[in-house]
Subunit: 349 residues, 4 copies
Amino acid sequence: MKKIPVGILAATGIVGQRFIQLLADHPWFEITAVAASERSAGKRYADAVHWLLPTPIPERVADMTVVESRPPLDCALVFSALPSDVAREVEPAFAAAGYVVSSNASAYRQEPDVPLLIPEVNPDHLGLLPSQQKSRGWDHGCLVTNPNCSTITLVMALKPLVDAFGVEQVIVTTMQATSGAGYPGVPSLDVIDNVLPHTDGEEPKMEWEPLKLLGSLNGVEITLADLPISAHCHRVAVWDGHTEAVSVKLGRRATADELRQVLHDFRGLPQELGLPSAPERPLSVPAAENRPQPRLDRDAAGGMATAVGRIRPCPILDWKLLVVGHNTVRGAAGAAILNAELMKAQGYL
Amino acid sequence: MKKIPVGILAATGIVGQRFIQLLADHPWFEITAVAASERSAGKRYADAVHWLLPTPIPERVADMTVVESRPPLDCALVFSALPSDVAREVEPAFAAAGYVVSSNASAYRQEPDVPLLIPEVNPDHLGLLPSQQKSRGWDHGCLVTNPNCSTITLVMALKPLVDAFGVEQVIVTTMQATSGAGYPGVPSLDVIDNVLPHTDGEEPKMEWEPLKLLGSLNGVEITLADLPISAHCHRVAVWDGHTEAVSVKLGRRATADELRQVLHDFRGLPQELGLPSAPERPLSVPAAENRPQPRLDRDAAGGMATAVGRIRPCPILDWKLLVVGHNTVRGAAGAAILNAELMKAQGYL
Amino acid sequence: MKKIPVGILAATGIVGQRFIQLLADHPWFEITAVAASERSAGKRYADAVHWLLPTPIPERVADMTVVESRPPLDCALVFSALPSDVAREVEPAFAAAGYVVSSNASAYRQEPDVPLLIPEVNPDHLGLLPSQQKSRGWDHGCLVTNPNCSTITLVMALKPLVDAFGVEQVIVTTMQATSGAGYPGVPSLDVIDNVLPHTDGEEPKMEWEPLKLLGSLNGVEITLADLPISAHCHRVAVWDGHTEAVSVKLGRRATADELRQVLHDFRGLPQELGLPSAPERPLSVPAAENRPQPRLDRDAAGGMATAVGRIRPCPILDWKLLVVGHNTVRGAAGAAILNAELMKAQGYL
Amino acid sequence: MKKIPVGILAATGIVGQRFIQLLADHPWFEITAVAASERSAGKRYADAVHWLLPTPIPERVADMTVVESRPPLDCALVFSALPSDVAREVEPAFAAAGYVVSSNASAYRQEPDVPLLIPEVNPDHLGLLPSQQKSRGWDHGCLVTNPNCSTITLVMALKPLVDAFGVEQVIVTTMQATSGAGYPGVPSLDVIDNVLPHTDGEEPKMEWEPLKLLGSLNGVEITLADLPISAHCHRVAVWDGHTEAVSVKLGRRATADELRQVLHDFRGLPQELGLPSAPERPLSVPAAENRPQPRLDRDAAGGMATAVGRIRPCPILDWKLLVVGHNTVRGAAGAAILNAELMKAQGYL
């Protein structure tokens, strides 16, 4: 199979670096363009980037010349790690120019005609694309987004509970890694010997995005789920891996063993289709009472599995859980790649 | 005034060190005995202790000889930082021998005749002491306990809300400092680049202790408050200062401004009596939306004030708050000292 | 005594905040102006600053209006925490306008007619000022600088050894706090679970500045000391307090006890004059073999004392030492304040 | 080829866990026994261990029953991660019983007839074994040790310099990961917002072990190298990876480029023999001026390569270098495995 040529927007940022790392040996996609800001354009990628990952820059990419983040780009699909304000301008320009855009940016997540997608959760929301293209006058191009990193971690754990028992209320407190804020991002002075309240819009995202993800597609629009969520968000001195303490109220009675079973057995369309980046099991359910922990569980299935543990009764809602997910893999670059894989498998690409 | 001679049990531990630091220039109490395990007994205090506080060992104490933690001790009042299993044996022995025992240990917190005390919250619970002495056959001795560090931080913030609005439900997620576990305590491998679930009994304590603290004294017993609490507890890489994300359901409608006012205006008996360790304001209510933070707020009023901020609506219960308290000052040694000051002021000592 | 009105340049930065904290109750100086960049000018100080210290903003300063960092300013003395490039323009403008400038910036440290001053080390270098004023045509104004934070920590420990034994060679490896880089400064991603080589000019500063500090004033110029120094510099996940591992070759044989004695006995002109910010003992010499440590020793004498310990033979040079100093107090704001106190005491102000 | 059955002594500790992780798919060795203290004996390995690595326990090992650390053991070769005092008794017992012992313990490193081995550095020291067996009366058994983790990191970087230029003096300052101290090991209170002097024997090890490693085998004994080394050792808040700042005096003049070339070109016998755990290049020489860093460089070649960078002139000795090595892989378990591979390749096993 000839590989699909892909471009990375904001390729020098921390999520851009994850895209490059995860796509290095991808069976379907091949990086043919790396784009960044004007300041980096024209430089060799290895010279333009402040590389922050323990694995080396893939050699082929190291020598590529960075171009600016605007069409045309030598590729068919673009992965966008753009900041939201830039994404707002640039992503539709790419879609209008005929590119498939798989975006990690927040700019268009709330647009009614833009799928907000987790392939294990709401793959049918890709059904928005024909009307998206029609209404926006895009011929071949289209735009798909993945949720915020803290949302993905939460919703991965909620989805099987929604399906099996119904979920009526969620209170979640996050202890988030600093890599989610990019580089330079969170100052060391804010997290050494400290916990930093996360005050820039994270909580509203966590309270709204799951409603769309768990909503239902009715013809050309999504009916939001009816699910009140209360989010308390914080940063802690962790490099990668968001930890989320969750209380849930279920739609019906269940036992801890039933929850554990349902979480453990969870599979979605990516598993059924055998998508390249799909973890065999989307959820790991470690048995030890002191798990999950970000350092120990973030890298499960290459960072694509979410860990759920400490299932115990909640005196207010029904159950308490602890969830850990890798924020820049499953919560960002890996999410957008899995979205693109689903689009490819379903003929949108 | 002649100072009251006091002894410290488990004086070489981290809470023992805080007792010594806080009592160095106390206007009412004077350290006359430092007690520890058999291994340390006979040594000079400065040689027996692995001192971990940035202020130096007070000179007078440095040269004292450590004795074993059992009566008789050259003092009238003992502050106990003993581990729970040892406290179970040793504390009643001191009370029986005529000493007033102000304990930070968990061993007797649940005993019906033992006050579990925060002077700003339930000073009247000292009223249990006469029947305690009578039923246990103690002449002059008695035993008073302070709550767990994470409980104190929570209940300090809840008390004014209980009084003004009623509190019906509480969900709390803690991000706790490692000093609470003593030394050596939490291994560095558990908190570097990590969050550690707190699995050894912290959650049940946080869910039960507030019921006694907020309960009412009826003659010779406490009627527990009717207040379901759900606690999620974790350790993070913070030296001192517990951070607690709280959702509360109130008994009646209120505005954020009303909450802020009530928290800000909160005063208790220690403030009225002008007890030496009482902070002028038990609660600080920082206005900045990114406060409180443990590094910035733990030391308010020498660690005796609790900080409450980020007051915002909760979509499930009524309000979200963020609370920070110093776990080894207001949450341990300072708590026991304030308890003793109240006892002194009220004639129990 | 009427207090001398002082202004702070770059008052919103982390060193600016230390100036404000340290000057809050100063017996000689009173803050009458806070200056910062154009962006902050016109705002209330408390609104303009991202305050990062555990003690609150002194009330008087909180309500002051920030002005721009250029003359005229309502004061007689300015403390400068400006970045080097800005300092290069602004500091001489203040001196020319008649202000005494006590600067923490590196811009003019190497100028032959500008004292690079540590009052315990080379107070006589103030003797450069008359010729400075003359040659630069400054009437009343003048400019004095303090060294880099890592240099001060090193030279405080070296000075008594220089005086007592002579010092011929120094190899120093630093493990520096991140507060020295200001805010936002060092990204958390660079120091969580990591050590960051310090590559932006720190090593040359540490290798050159001590030569001027330990040099001798000959009429109107400083003859640099003949002292080869080799510096290896790094950042670690520490908030405040630089730790420096030092090997020294002395001019003559000595015993560990002699070194310890000489360090312990060290006093300088600030101690003799009783300057307000002078620590009673400039050096603390903790006896424990695992001291100094930044968390335990940085705050000695309010951050103005430097700790020296672990004195042991070096198989290559003569002795190994471990030194800890507070980088934003003794290493920055406190240094500039002590310099100004010396100037006042000696009639330059 | 039939695999050689191997046992792990102290299999539940952090180095024991690394042995199990690294041997999971080893082409020559197969774990057939896991041994630990009496307390763990009889338990399933997965139940006995507090597993601390991000990769899961290999399934086959998880279900093995832990036995006590004494012969007989169902294997031919034992890897020892025993603490030194236990190793002193147990390791000779295994050797006497006919087992080949590859030890990470320090107990026998200084014995004249026991090879202290780094296969790239002094493979010929295995020549001590015949006389070892003869003098100790061991038939088939023998004992080989690897150096301390901080020593290995240093000597890997020194060896090519020794060969190419001669090395006459070394001053090294370490910033060591806490995993080297095992679990629970270094308390979090000692490294949060702190640097901890390493006071328990690390410095003497670093100053002596290289002399044996770089010494020459003369018949049946090693003549120690004549190389004064001065070590300053510290712990920092890093999980894995020792960082070492090194100044070296060479035997002859060289340029930075020559050093870089010699380090980059370094190969040893393991590379020549193609031993399974040998990294293709023992040394990585990152070009960026801010490298190496432990988080970015410790995992090179699966943790078996050592990174050397920041090659720059030293004003006292000749050159400054920064070295990073993985302390529990190349510095412990991986070291002992590579030693055993060399023994196998050379017919000692």
